[in-house]
Amino acid sequence: MRQSPRHWLVAFVLASAALLAFSGVAFAQNESRTPVPGTPTPASTPDISGVWLGDGGNNRPLLLQPALPLMLPWVKAKFNSQGVATDLDPFVESCEPLGVSRVLLENTPLKIVPASGEVVIFYERNHDFREIYTDGRQHPKDLDPSWWGHSIGRWDGNTFVVDTVGFNDKTWVDWAGLPHTEALHLVERYQRVDHDTMRLDLTVDDPKAYTQPFTVKRMFTLKIWDIGEDICTHSTEQHFKQEIVQPATVPPGK
């Protein structure tokens, strides 16, 4: 059967469109694979993007030591003579959000993603995230207290400085069970030491709980990992308690 010139033209246009469509997919795939996470970019500010894992292994009660001599009486009263927090852990008991300082002392990675006007940090634990605004805005007045507070960031030389206020008082400051009030003010200073290493200096300031601010350092290592899914759910926590925690903690002979 003989095709008319018009049919050939339609076929040519369709073929060209298909080629363009396929090449578009291929281009998008290649583009999504580069740059390698953590590779320094030629931007004017240092690059702290990528997946980072804090040092020291298990969840860190790093803030307890510097906080000890600074506790107001009501904070001291939260610990028994064995040094264990007497309040139930809001995360373990109810899967409530960890909050900013506690998640930074986690033994699971975080992923820093610069975006337009902000830096987003994703946390493997609970698949949580924070937005840190870098567009020059200030903290709003009369913030409603929230789990993650309100964060603004700026570059101070080669250090990314994050200032966060506006917290509720439901989280612990770290894994030892340090409490805080809605007056909590956190400052995080992130500095890329070398390609594979980042330093965090975390300052906790809560004049209604501690007599003066205190600071801890934690080092992070760059990982070529994906962020996993480590989600706290009531059912899995209950199962773990029944299977492990309760039999391991019942007094001997009972």
Partner: protein, 127 residues
């Protein structure tokens, strides 16, 4: 009186400081970090799950009685970086474990290391 108060505070702070490193997510204070016990048995179940994976192991004791032990391990997102997968253990596998047992004598413990039947060793930390 003032000296007494100061010394009392120091004792409390000392206790706090000593106990701090032992405190973790679900209270690893339940385990005895000074005791490392090696046991061999048959895997009854392997739970690849949050908040902690669990290995159920049937171990025959000195009297020939089978005791069902349950061991806490890290969650999947950490174990995968230590070389584990959800296929690492299956019911019926022969397994050797090195654990810190519970202080209260219950057949519970926390894994430090496992040795598979083929001799492969896996720990809880990144390779």
């Amino acid at each position: 009186m003032k000296i007494k108060l100061v010394s009392h505070s120091l004792v409390i702070f000392g206790l706090l400081a000593i106990s701090a490193p032992a405190f973790a997510h679900h209270g690893t204070t339940a385990y005895d970090p000074q005791r490392k016990v090696t046991m061999k048995g048959t895997v009854a179940n392997f739970e690849w799950t949050n908040p902690h994976s669990q290995i159920h192991l049937d171990v025959t004791d000195d009297q020939g009685k089978v005791v069902h032990w349950n061991f806490e391990a890290q969650p999947p997102n950490i174990l995968i970086h230590a070389g584990w997968t959800r296929e690492t253990l299956k019911p019926g596998d022969q397994l050797t474990v090195v654990v810190n047992p519970a202080k209260n004598g219950s057949p519970i413990g926390i894994i430090q290391k496992i040795v598979l039947a083929n001799g492969q060793e896996l720990t809880m930390t990144e390779k």
